[in-house]
Symmetry: C2
Subunit: 192 residues, 2 copies
DNA sequence: TTCCAATCTGGACAGTGTCAATTTGGTGGA
DNA sequence: TCCACCAAATTGACACTGTCCAGATTGGAA
């Protein structure tokens, strides 16, 4: 378990909020958010067990930041995949595949993004809300460009890749199977 | 918070395993599995904080049983919906809708079923494995009956309803929207 | 330079999962 | 009938957690 480079000069840390965030993201790569304790994060940042409370309201506050960072990464992965692809059909499949791949490669980050105990869509964060909107927008316009024509179709795409990503991350089906299902199911949905 | 009728006669409980299970299922209707403590369940069953250890290996053991019971309920809901419907297309849509509805109506039960920290598909339980197989079988044969033709299609159906159920339970879209998406997306997938 | 507000520390408390040692009460064998 | 035994349940203890509180320390503004 690596420590985050703290560069402390003395009593005051300087940029503890980011240090804690970085330490927590490192832990999130190894274990589920549920198993990450505030004290553990404080220890990793080489700071007293109470220091985090000056930068996050509580444990949930930290997890919210982890969710925001993870969501930004997820959106970026989908955005890049969409941009890198040729035709609109391939782009939609590539975007969906990127979504599934992210869920499998960053299972704990993916979980915390959609954990209702961390982020309640009813009370969206200023950072999280636009990210969700962007994700829906990316999938929606990719779906339209590929030949689908309404909001329900876009949500269908989201639901499909989200479900496959979740099942895949939980170990219920292997990644290559999930990716094949993404391609074939989207292929069935699209007009041909 | 109701106590489960314990009918204790004395020092020995008689059927503590089931009493604990019932108490925990009752708690699961109100709060996520993550927030249910072993001691709380023991208290609800009117028993010492260590009594559960004679019936479950540890906290995870209890949660596994909750997952098995919840999965049985989910499978039953899908099975009933499939059986109650007329044509094969309607049946598939009804089964998918039942899946989504279960996720929304029993969000904590649905969560614990697919929580990789509770049930790892790599080491399946004797009770859980056949339930998962039955669920896949139900969705698979319904998909085939409706006109889809291979395993990938069946997994696509599962992925779609699982994703929509998860997103819906997490509050990312309302139930009626999700049900409409189930119908329209499955309609697109099916040959017409 | 003085003083303040933000930051960090230590101590404390209730709650938790789990281990260990102990008590209880029914059951099978003499 | 009695007694030894065993599973079930108990109390006690420990380390760990989130969070509240009071005090210490600091950088920077007045």
């Amino acid at each position: 378990m690596l420590l985050v480079s703290s560069s402390r000069s003395g009593y005051h840390h300087g940029d503890l909020a980011h240090a804690l965030e970085a330490a927590a993201m490192q832990l999130l790569a190894e274990k589920p958010a549920q198993d990450i304790s505030l004290r553990e994060v404080a220890r990793a940042a080489d700071v007293s067990h109470n220091a985090p409370y000056h930068h996050f309201a509580d444990r949930r506050g930290l997890l919210k930041v982890l969710a925001e960072r993870s969501m930004a990464d997820l959106v970026a992965a989908v955005r890049d995949a969409l941009a890198a692809s040729g035709g609109p059909r391939d782009a939609l499949i590539a975007g969906g595949s990127a979504y599934v791949r992210f869920a499998v490669e960053h299972p704990h980050g993916f979980d915390v993004v959609y954990d209702p105990a961390v982020c309640v869509p009813g009370e969206p964060t200023d950072t999280m809300a636009p990210l969700i909107a962007e994700l829906e927008g990316l999938l929606g316009s990719a779906a339209v460009a590929a030949g689908l024509d309404d909001a329900a179709d876009a949500l269908g795409v989201w639901g499909l890749v989200h479900g496959l990503g979740t099942l895949c991350a939980a170990g219920h089906l292997p990644l290559d199977t999930a990716l094949a299902v993404v391609a074939s199911t989207l292929g069935r949905m699209l007009p041909h």
